[in-house]
Symmetry: C2
Subunit: 344 residues, 2 copies
Amino acid sequence: MATVSIKEVAHRAGVSVGTVSNVLNHPDTVAIATRRRVLSVITELGYVRNDSARQLRAGRSQTVAMVALDLANPFFTDVMRGAEIAAEAGGVNVMIFNSGEDTARERRHLDMLGGQRVLGVLITPVDETNNARLDRLVERGIPVVLVDRGSGSHERCSVAVDDVLGGQLAGQHLREQGHHRIAFVGGPFSIRQVSDRHTGFTAALNDGPDVRLFSTSNLTVAAGREAGQTIAELPAAKRPTAVFCANDLLALGVLQEMTTHGVSVPRDMAIVGYDDIEFAAAAAVPLSSVRQPREQLGRAATQLLLEEVNEPQSHEHRHVVFRPDLVVRESSATKVTASAKRGK
Amino acid sequence: MATVSIKEVAHRAGVSVGTVSNVLNHPDTVAIATRRRVLSVITELGYVRNDSARQLRAGRSQTVAMVALDLANPFFTDVMRGAEIAAEAGGVNVMIFNSGEDTARERRHLDMLGGQRVLGVLITPVDETNNARLDRLVERGIPVVLVDRGSGSHERCSVAVDDVLGGQLAGQHLREQGHHRIAFVGGPFSIRQVSDRHTGFTAALNDGPDVRLFSTSNLTVAAGREAGQTIAELPAAKRPTAVFCANDLLALGVLQEMTTHGVSVPRDMAIVGYDDIEFAAAAAVPLSSVRQPREQLGRAATQLLLEEVNEPQSHEHRHVVFRPDLVVRESSATKVTASAKRGK
DNA sequence: AGATCAAATTGAATCGTTTTACATCCTGAG
DNA sequence: CTCAGGATGTAAAACGATTCAATTTGATCT
């Protein structure tokens, strides 16, 4: 309960507070004997530096904050992991906050971070368009990096993954497998990711087969099942032989419905998802999926942030765009290479 | 860039710093005209309180920390959500940290939290046994609440869910369904949750059928599939007609393998999982599962913490144990009530 | 011994708030 | 007209660390 300060340590060690501080921050400037004495008093009293005082003096903290859109989504926990790794390498701490897609909560968090004088903020904002609060942080010298929200803005750095390319990869793959009747399952198109993936997908098939669109109202397994049922009930001759889904949840729903209706995957129907969530590999028929380098995303974002923190004047804002890649598994393999590919 | 302080505001408003502080903290003690003037200067200059200074003065922050064992696990994100709700109600902030089951990382986080003088800590420690660092926090007046780690210790509060009871619920349920050959899939037993669930399960069946044990080396879908294969390949006459799995991932693996081997669920085989993860309801055959009140866990933990913070002297440490409940879905329903029960 | 210089240590100022004891002003009661 | 006492407002002292100019100490060289 008695919180012990540097002054008390100094007194007990028979030195001045300045010396104690030096032991902590510039150990090489203090004589070895003194250093040892001070250190032993420190452990004896259980002294712990008061970071508030430290930060007050320094003018800023040693912490960056990540404000995630939805921590229940594994995408963000992976990004977080990457951020933690990069932060550790840079000698700073990461504090995680969760906006839960709630503007008010996001606002509260940002205000608080401003008051805390954090080093910088990594954020996937709820609202892509109105970022006044972020601008205010930047004005006050707190750099902000956007994650997975590539507003081409030149005001700040951003990291993102190329969703158009992701769609293209899926399209090329299915085309190479010789499919002619192909469908896209996904929606709503107001979500940039969805429309980008669709755009890339159709582009890859532009001189080939038409893409039939099955629009969904959200990105859940249930929605996938609904679409899957519609598809499975089509007469076999008109039914697509391949489906690309805007995310893995949809794909899993479609897959289940195919199984239920006796449509064999991949023989009668190839399926490709997006995100490569953990369950993709663990599905009844392991699911092909477009993988995003999520951890890298977090690492890169943090590195950009620290760069800006450390060289504010020479820093130029950059927009890093990563390439996703396609993980082919049984659900879309022409020849079922089966267990060999059943990775994790 | 020019970070503006209370002094500047005071100067521009033609008052003393004390008055500005009062406007912020005791608005009713300052004349309405002055208050307005000060407030307008504040917004004009974009002044933001420096929390470091505030905390230094106050001796503590207005933040509680939650150190999660593994944020990639939805269990903890739900607990987190509960904690956030309760914290908000109590007027404090929550900072989330992730130890990722890594002792070193946990240690670093705890040290940092000590330095930050947080109000209190919610934690699921990596190591159940050695909590010296937690003791040190407590000694220094920072209360700690254990989450899902019910060390009967009288040193601190804890919240947990009764896993023995959870196992019992599953056992009773399967017994009521008239099953005679019953199996338990799970492991390793060094994990308390696993052994508790097993204990409760066998207890519920003690005067009835024997429980055949299929031990796994971890709690993944892959492990579940392995066990499922073994089970499915038993001659139908000796094969269990019901399986209780130590968690949902195992259950999903078992379910897949049954489907593959043409064993109909639930007709030939009932399956019950544990955790009620989001995918449980979305599985090909919606999965019965034992649900833990995870959000409540977080809420309760935070409330205990805040209680201890606010009344340190009168506070008595408590151990709150929640009751899980069984969600019956198709995978274990005698009569398939089908779509009616397909709720998310 | 005295001068010189590097190494070690000190003391005070500083960061931005909050708080407390005190001063000032004003109003209305006596 | 005076005075008590409530409203307002102020100045200065904390809070705990870091830093920097100044000082002391001690060793080395002549």
